[in-house]
């Protein structure tokens, strides 16, 4: 079984979906000859031709709007937006057009597209290349939202997303692109959207996280004193959200810490905290803690590490929660 990083596993998923289904079409800035600025689409244009892996003019609104049209016409469009900061110009097409499509057409005309977007900070990137806007899209009815943190899950989730009859926002934590490898089966498999994964089992508290923060949380959990064991849940599907896995774990441990890079207020951590108190109120031993970015603009990279939750900050919250 090959050891792949996130870049290679996503590339493999795209290759397999292009092979499997002729209606799959990739489009975006620099995705063709250049293979994408992060090389996610490397080699695909050569293999499948310019008609199916298309370099577009430099316009996110154009990319997303054209993807909506392709989807209306029966294609499985897989647009790439180069960085999450540039979802702005695509927002109208994604939120006001793609997301509402099935509802407003009463199921007649649909919008099966999967928009791939690198997300998050920690790579010393320029402005608008390090944000975490996932909650905006989770808050948008009609969109499914995925953020896979690990290569094996990413491959299965992306296959599901492309085959999904509804629009999916597929966030790729760019800090993880090349920093982690694992065995990835090269056969055709899918992972259901809406399914969290328990990465580590534990009895004393539950950590709920996603994206690049998964690795910071694992680090923090490993550094806990021996008498505290933490359960680590990689949410990976942000919408639909796997309430059952969260509730099952927190009901048992009685304590929960939610970790994300995005700002605190109205971040997905707020929703998860609310769900926990709705479902686990009588089992809770401590208030649910959130370790998050702050309610400020993502700083330029000189201060990004003062903004991003790191293992030390997470670890402190874990100890506080465990001791409560």
């Amino acid at each position: 079984m090959p050891q792949l990083n996130l870049v290679d596993s996503i590339n493999l998923a795209l290759r397999q979906e292009l092979t499997r289904d002729e209606s799959v079409i990739l489009l975006g800035e620099d995705v063709g000859l250049n293979g994408g600025v992060f090389r996610l689409t490397d080699g695909l244009q050569k293999e499948f031709g310019e008609a199916r892996v298309r370099d577009t003019p430099l316009s996110e609104g154009g990319i997303m709007g054209t993807a909506v049209g392709l989807a209306h016409a029966g294609m499985k469009a897989v647009p790439e937006i180069q960085f999450e900061g540039f979802l702005g110009p695509a927002y109208d097409q994604l939120v006001n057009q793609a997301a509402r499509c099935r509802t407003r057409n009463r199921g007649g005309m649909t919008c099966p597209l999967t928009v791939r977007v690198p997300v998050g900070g920690g790579i010393h990137a320029p402005e608008l290349h390090s944000d975490s806007p996932e909650a905006v899209y989770v808050h948008t009815p009609g969109l499914k939202v995925v953020m896979a943190s690990r290569p094996k899950a990413a491959k299965g989730l992306l296959a599901s997303a492309i085959r999904d009859p509804d629009p999916v926002v597929f966030f790729e934590p760019k800090r993880v692109y090349r920093s982690f490898k694992e065995d990835v089966p090269d056969d055709d498999y899918t992972i259901e959207i809406g399914q969290a994964e328990v990465l580590e089992t534990g009895d004393d508290l539950t950590i709920i996280t996603w994206g690049a923060s998964v690795f910071r949380c694992l680090e923090a959990a490993d550094a806990l004193p021996d008498h505290i064991s933490a359960e680590v849940i990689d949410l990976q599907s942000l919408w639909p959200i796997d309430v059952e896995t969260i509730v099952k774990s927190v009901s048992r441990t009685g304590r929960a810490v939610v970790v994300h890079e995005a700002p605190k207020t109205c971040g997905l951590g707020a929703e998860i905290s609310a769900l926990i108190q709705e479902h686990c109120f009588l089992n809770l031993e401590a208030p649910v803690q959130r370790v998050t970015g702050f309610d400020v603009t993502m700083p330029y990279y000189k201060l990004e590490n003062d903004y991003l939750p790191d293992a030390a900050r997470i670890g402190k919250a874990l100890r506080e929660t465990a001791a409560y």
Binding site: L33, L58, P126, R290, T297, R313
Partner: protein, 385 residues
């Protein structure tokens, strides 16, 4: 009713100083009122400094002292000529990121550009008197800003009899963004004194012009918005100056906006994380390098007896000295404080943000009552990595 033409338009290209150093004397004389030998020598010296800074920034990035950096190499003449048609502090500039030399010419301290790319927001803390907006990273997003600034300038010009203009810089790729349409359309319908300067270097990262647009030129896009469009060889200081001055005069005279296309070549990669050899042929790159505006300007000056090898050596040494000082200034500046990320979020920091600032300091989220029993030392230890 017979059919008849309802629109006819055309775009002319201006070339004065060609790559081999030959010059159209008649056209050159039209701009020698400003571009006399002394001014061209000064411009060439500015180009040498900007080129040295660009190379130095590349080395800083490669040695891990700077983040991603978009090199300006090869695109010095057009933006410098454009800036020479403006009045520093009187006019306003809305830049993208490949016309640093224009900003330097108008008075921006060079170390601020380095700070920006070193991930330090103080690079954007620009003296308001300069009339320079910070670098816009989001492609094309600043073009409607130029229109808005232009609206305000028009109000002021009409009121006070002034003739201020706004100049926006952007690349060929930006013309595909919806914001390009908005910027031009709003400037045109508002009769705003805006000069849109498109540096067409042939590439939007890996996408060549012919995949960006089916228009033969970017300049002709102006005509659809009801403004004049000019095109010039952007590696030719004289031609660039001529069309930019024509466009600026048009705007200063109250005739509304204009678009200038300066054709040039991006000698380096798109940024330091790009590898242009994946999509550009060696032959094309060699042609691009041969059209280097520095080589061309130097040849011109040599032919006029204004430049020689000794001066070249001396001026390159001067450029190296200046850039060393600029780098030292940028490197020596103390890292901004951790609290900095909260200081500029709002004019008045809301209470909740003050609480978050405190949790950042103590490393606690402040939800647990235990936080109050933790000593500062304990809290600080807990967050020290």
């Amino acid at each position: 009713m017979p059919t008849h033409d309802v629109f006819n338009g055309s775009v002319s290209r201006v070339e004065i100083l060609s790559a081999d150093g030959s010059i159209d004397e008649q056209l050159a004389d039209e701009v020698r009122d400003v571009l006399d030998d002394e001014a061209v020598v000064a411009a060439y010296r500015e180009m040498l400094v900007a080129r040295e800074l660009d190379d130095a920034a590349y080395r800083l990035q490669r040695s891990g002292r700077m983040g991603t950096f978009p090199q300006n190499k090869g695109q010095e003449a057009g933006p410098l000529a454009a800036a020479m048609t403006l009045i520093a502090g009187h006019d306003h500039v809305v830049p993208s990121y490949r016309e640093n030399i224009a900003l330097f010419h108008l008075g921006l301290p060079m170390h601020q550009i380095l700070l920006h790319w070193m991930g330090d927001e103080r690079g954007n803390d620009i003296d308001p008197k300069l009339g320079i907006s910070p670098i816009c990273i989001s492609i094309g997003a600043h073009l409607p800003h130029a229109a808005g600034i232009g609206w305000k300038l028009k109000i002021d010009n009409d009121k006070h009899g002034t003739d201020r203009v706004c100049m926006a810089f952007f690349g060929d790729g930006a013309t595909s963004e919806g914001a390009f349409h908005d910027g031009l359309n709003f400037a045109a319908t508002g009769d705003a004194p805006v000069v849109f300067v498109c540096q067409n270097n042939g590439w939007a990262i890996s996408v060549p012009t012919e995949k960006q647009t089916r228009s033969q030129t970017f300049a002709q896009k102006a005509l659809a918005y009801g403004m004049p469009g000019f095109q010039a060889d952007g590696n030719d200081l004289f031609a660039s100056f001529k069309v930019c001055r024509d466009a600026v005069r048009h705007a200063r005279a109250g005739n509304g906006p204009a678009l200038v296309e300066l054709t040039t070549y991006r000698i380096a990669d798109h940024t330091t994380v790009d590898d242009a050899s994946r999509y550009r042929s060696k032959e094309e790159h060699e042609r691009g390098v041969a059209s280097d505006p520095l080589i061309r300007t130097r040849r011109y000056l040599e032919a006029r007896g204004q430049w020689n090898d000794d001066l070249e050596k001396q001026e390159k040494e001067r450029a190296t000295r200046i850039v060393k000082e600029v780098i030292a200034t940028a490197m020596e500046i103390e890292k901004p404080g951790k609290s900095d990320i909260f200081d500029y979020a709002f004019a008045t920091t809301p209470r909740e943000l003050e609480r978050q600032r405190e949790t950042r300091r103590t490393g606690s989220l402040g939800q647990s009552p235990r936080q109050s029993t933790l000593s500062r030392v304990e809290a600080d230890e807990a967050v020290t990595v």
